[in-house]
């Protein structure tokens, strides 16, 4: 083995090592003892970020199975952002829900390692293993609130449907192997391009099965059913984590598999993906409008954003591929910020002095989770800082001009127009306009409605507050001066496709 052969896996190895360290630390923690396990995770993530930056432009590859090209490294860096923000905002949620802290952090780190592997893997078998690592960890994280029936139901649904979709994905890999004799993306691509595989029916079957597996993970219509329940049932920090991290990893692999190995079969999957993207954007937006629960609302918003990403993927030109990366980064920062605020406000709800205005209190003795849209009424008066941050995040999600979300959407729709998908671009613009309505509903609630809630907020933890402020600054930076990051995104796709 030559020195440097392992370089490509260093980022995920750092995160995995941090995860194992967190696990061992947790097992030696005495009950009630506090340990800086989140700090351990932070060290691992910083290591991953440094190694990813050092590997930039080197285009290294390990074992022929993992390729640290710029595309994978860009997604790795997005995932590092996701990880750091998640660690920073999960403190209040963990304390409020009395979640097992060590396990929460360790599983988050393992999931991140799996995501990084999924984004850099160039072999279907490794992509599947990575998918399983991240999925298993996220299923468990979803069900971490063991005393909540909602969380158990969410985890159970997510697990059953997820296992089912993994089986589809694995079946697709098996068929692909049967047709092309390889699970390696390069070889699959060359066999399909050469037309050597005569079994076109098998080939289409393989393609369809893989498509189902990916569509489930990115919660595209009609495989989105699990999303609202899972997002509502999971603890807020976990919801933020899974909505951004899983999406980033799944889209990275989606782009890699479909725009390299299966690019010759575009005629077969293009039309299907067109319909899926349109349905995803429309359904996510329309159903999102009527959601009274803010987590469910953001779940449908997340489905709609998946639709925009699918448009970028379908465009398939350089602009579109760059747009996927930029969009993922923007979405990660924005959505995690929004869930960070939700997590903090949920924590506020458990203060003994906070009298619930809801008509009933569940028999478990828990306060209602404080996650309805109307719970945000009058937030501006009680906590102007959080209300301001939430406004930034929501406006960026809807794609308002000075924020990052606008540039990301604009980039996606330009790519779609250039690639000749003007129909999709029009649907995208229309649904964006409609979506403004439901994001603004919350904003209006915060500023213009009198709240019935007494102002009993705990102090915002310093880490979480800092993370939220930094996210907001990044959103403005990406929205006003996007050129540099767009350049990086364009550079990273140049290396592989």
């Amino acid at each position: 083995m030559t020195p440097g052969a392992l370089n490509a896996i260093v980022p995920m190895a750092c995160v995995t090592a941090a995860g194992i360290a967190a696990m061992v630390a947790e097992s030696f923690r005495e009950p009630g003892e506090h340990m800086p396990i989140a700090g351990l995770g932070l060290v691992g993530l910083i290591g991953a970020a440094i190694s990813a930056v050092l590997l930039w432009n080197h285009n290294t590859s390990s074992f022929g199975l993992v390729s640290a090209d710029n595309f994978g490294l860009f997604v790795t860096l997005i995932l590092v952002c996701v990880g750091v923000l998640t660690l920073a905002i999960s403190g209040p949620t963990i304390e409020r829900e009395r979640l097992p802290a060590g396990e929460h952090y360790a599983l988050t780190l393992f999931a991140l390692a799996g995501m990084m592997l999924m984004a850099t893997a160039t072999d279907l078998l490794v992509i599947f293993l990575a998918l399983e690592v991240l999925s298993l960890a996220v299923y468990v994280l979803t069900g971490l609130r063991r005393d909540s029936p909602v969380a158990s139901e969410a985890a159970f649904k997510y697990f059953l449907l997820g296992a089912f979709s993994s089986a589809f994905f694995l079946y697709g890999i098996a068929f692909t192997y049967g047709v092309t004799g390889s699970t390696h993306l390069d070889r699959i691509g060359s066999v399909i391009a050469a037309g050597a595989a005569q079994e076109t029916l098998m080939q289409r079957l393989a393609l369809g099965l893989l498509l189902v597996g990916f569509a489930f993970k990115v919660s595209a219509v009609p495989f989105h059913m699990w999303t609202p329940d899972a997002y509502e049932g999971a603890p807020s920090s976990v919801t933020g984590f899974m909505s951004t991290g899983v999406k980033a990893a799944a889209f990275a692999a989606f782009v890699r598999v479909f725009l390299s190995a299966f690019e010759p079969m575009r005629a077969d999957w293009g039309a299907v993906l067109w319909v899926v993207a349109a349905a995803t954007m429309i359904l996510g937006t329309v159903v999102g409008v009527v959601q009274p629960n803010i987590k469910r609302m953001l779940a449908y918003s997340s489905i709609a954003h998946g639709g925009y990403l699918l448009v970028a993927l379908l465009s398939g030109n350089d602009l579109g591929k760059g747009a996927v990366l930029f969009y993922l980064l923007t979405y990660a920062v924005t959505n995690l910020g929004a869930f960070g605020v939700i997590g903090l406000l949920e924590s506020a709800g458990t203060q003994p002095s906070a009298i619930s205005h809801q008509p009933f209190i569940p028999a478990t003795g828990h306060q209602p989770p404080n996650d309805q849209v109307r719970d945000y009424a009058g937030l501006w008066h009680t906590h102007p800082m959080l209300a301001g941050l939430m406004t930034v995040f929501l406006l960026s999600l809807s794609g308002f001009p000075p924020m990052a979300g606008f540039i990301a959407k604009w980039y996606v729709f330009t790519a779609a127009m250039k690639a000749g998908y003007s129909g999709l671009a029009i649907i995208g613009v229309l649904t964006s306009v409609v979506s403004v309505f439901f994001y603004l509903r919350v904003v209006v609630m915060m500023y213009m409605t009198e709240g019935e809630r007494p102002a009993a907020f705990p102090a915002v933890p310093r880490m979480a507050g800092l993370a939220l402020v930094v996210s907001a600054i990044v959103i403005f930076y990406l929205g006003i001066l996007p050129a540099r990051v767009l350049d990086w995104a364009a550079q990273s796709i140049g290396t592989i496709f």
Binding site: L65, L107, A113, L136, A137, R146
Partner: protein, 170 residues
């Protein structure tokens, strides 16, 4: 196939018979035990197909560990007998939700198998390389697939942690 046809028919008959009995039982514990028998017969079929590694894994992992897990889940749920709130004369495709879904899946699987079998003569573009002996599998596993092998250990770790977190009592 190197084994005698008689052995094949013996194992196949046991596998099919045990599988039919699995779904015919009203008592889920008996179903689980019969499923072990079915797995054992399948393992014999794998031996006849010159796949000793799969045969051994079938016994160690499936008939051993996974069926123990099934048995404990059945005992945990404590469902001594299946509820039969539907008329057993109704066609399986018309029965309530899960039954209908299962029947539909079985139907799809049947069609698929028939399709595969009728085309068995024509081989695809790829003829599978004959990796059969355990030593060859070991060699491939620890050279070409060394990295996926190590990733598997992380997968097992996550599963372990998940089981402890979700099933702990407090």
């Amino acid at each position: 196939m190197t084994g005698s046809p008689m052995l094949f028919y013996l194992f196949a008959a046991v596998a099919v018979g045990a599988s039919l009995l699995v779904i015919a039982q009203r008592n889920p514990v008996y179903s689980v035990l019969l499923l072990i028998g079915s797995f054992g017969a399948l393992s014999g079929l794998y031996v006849l197909l010159d796949a000793p590694f799969v045969a051994v894994i079938q016994i160690i992992v499936y008939a051993g560990a996974i069926m123990v897990l099934f048995l404990f889940v059945v005992m945990l749920l404590n469902a001594p007998h299946e509820d039969t709130d539907y008329d057993s004369h109704v066609h399986p495709l018309l029965r309530p939700g899960p039954m209908r879904f299962g029947a539909a899946l079985a139907l799809a699987f049947g069609v698929e198998l028939v399709w595969a079998l009728t085309r068995a003569g024509q081989s695809g573009a790829f003829a599978g390389g004959a990796v059969s002996s355990v030593a060859q599998i070991g060699h491939a596993l620890f050279t070409d697939y060394a990295f996926p092998f190590e990733v598997t250990s992380i997968l097992i770790l996550v599963a372990m942690m998940g089981a402890v977190v979700l099933a702990r009592r407090d």
